[in-house]
């Protein structure tokens, strides 16, 4: 590749990758608006924290412990890989890969939610949503993300059910798999931002 070629008329007027479906764009736009919502949510966290000015978390609430969230991260982040693997499989018409990959993701996602529930059980003894704004933020952010994981898992489970029925997906029909995968990757990535905001940033 030469600079000349890359800055020529044709390269500069390259069309977007061909053949994206309306469903793909619809899901991407939905994810964009959801991502904006999370950005506002995390922005609100920092706004309240720095407007408060005092020690954070306030009211003697201890800084969040890292062990459980890091385990949750280790469970959730890799859960995108089976989805990718499954999607590649069905593009080649390999239905077993679709089923196996989705099942693996389902297990990882449910594990994540179970870990979150155990974390809540411990946290709720220390503070609740009504303790102060920190508590409100903590439960809103993590709870809202947990809700997204639940929705994502519903999608994955729905795909799994459809693929187990047969006659749903194949090398020529896998749009729904792709769209659900986009959503799951998004839910995954948002967790990284939440890990940083809620768990790591109070220690900075």
């Amino acid at each position: 590749m030469s600079v000349r070629a890359a800055t020529g008329t044709e390269a500069l007027t390259t069309e977007l990758p061909v053949g994206r479906s309306t469903g793909w764009w619809g899901m991407v736009m939905f994810v964009v608006t959801e991502a904006t919502l999370f950005a506002c949510l995390l922005g609100s966290y920092f706004y309240l924290r720095f407007q408060y000015g005092g020690p954070w978390p306030p009211d003697g609430i201890s800084k969040p412990k890292l062990l459980v969230p890091l385990v949750m991260t280790a469970v959730l982040l890799p859960s995108s890989l089976p989805v990718v693997w499954a999607e590649r499989g069905i593009r080649q018409g390999q239905r077993w890969r679709l089923r196996a990959g989705l099942a693996a993701t389902l297990v990882l996602g449910v594990t994540f939610l179970a870990l979150q529930a155990s974390e809540y059980a411990e946290k709720l003894r220390e503070f609740t949503m009504t303790t102060d704004a920190y508590g409100s933020l903590f439960y809103l952010i993590t709870g809202f993300h947990g809700l997204h994981v639940l929705v994502g898992l519903t999608m994955i489970g729905w795909l799994l059910a459809a693929s187990l029925r047969g006659g749903s997906f194949g090398a020529h029909r896998h749009e729904r798999v792709r769209n659900a995968a986009i959503y799951w990757h998004f839910v995954d990535l948002v967790w990284a931002a939440i890990l940083f905001t809620v768990y790591l940033s109070p220690r900075l």
Partner: protein, 132 residues
């Protein structure tokens, strides 16, 4: 007839095109969120420093760097403009027409965003950062 660019050249060219169109807008958005967030929240805490740095220097950096990024986008837009005003023979007419329109839009918007960033920068010279 010129040789067609390969996939990597197309990817680079495409990214350059989007940098030309959206670079100024994104730079300005980053600039605004940075200067507003840093100024309002640092002053709310009653401080005028962030770590070792004076607040004014941090805000200054959040003005200068996005301004430079916008200038870069302006140059990229000028390149797209030049390349679409005299397209080589045999290139499809529609992408060129569309690229040319995008170049006009890009040049204007980068100029506009640069103006906004510069006007904000002038305020930094006049006002102390935490004056209410």
């Amino acid at each position: 007839m010129s040789t067609h660019p390969g996939p990597r050249a197309r990817l680079t060219g495409g990214l350059l095109f989007w940098y030309a169109v959206l670079g100024g807008a994104i730079a300005w958005a980053v600039h605004l969120l940075a200067v507003w967030g840093v100024d309002e929240l640092t002053c709310a805490g009653g401080r005028e420093r962030i770590g070792a740095l004076p607040l004014r220097a941090v805000i200054g950096a959040a003005v200068v760097l996005p301004a430079l990024a916008t200038v870069g986008a302006l140059l990229a837009a000028a390149l797209v403009w030049r390349r679409t005003s005299h397209p080589p023979e045999g290139v499809d007419e529609r992408p060129v027409g569309r690229g040319r329109m995008a170049a006009v839009v890009a040049i204007w918007s980068n100029l506009l965003f640069l103006t906004i960033i510069v006007l904000g920068g002038i305020a930094l010279l006049v006002l102390p950062p935490c004056l209410r």
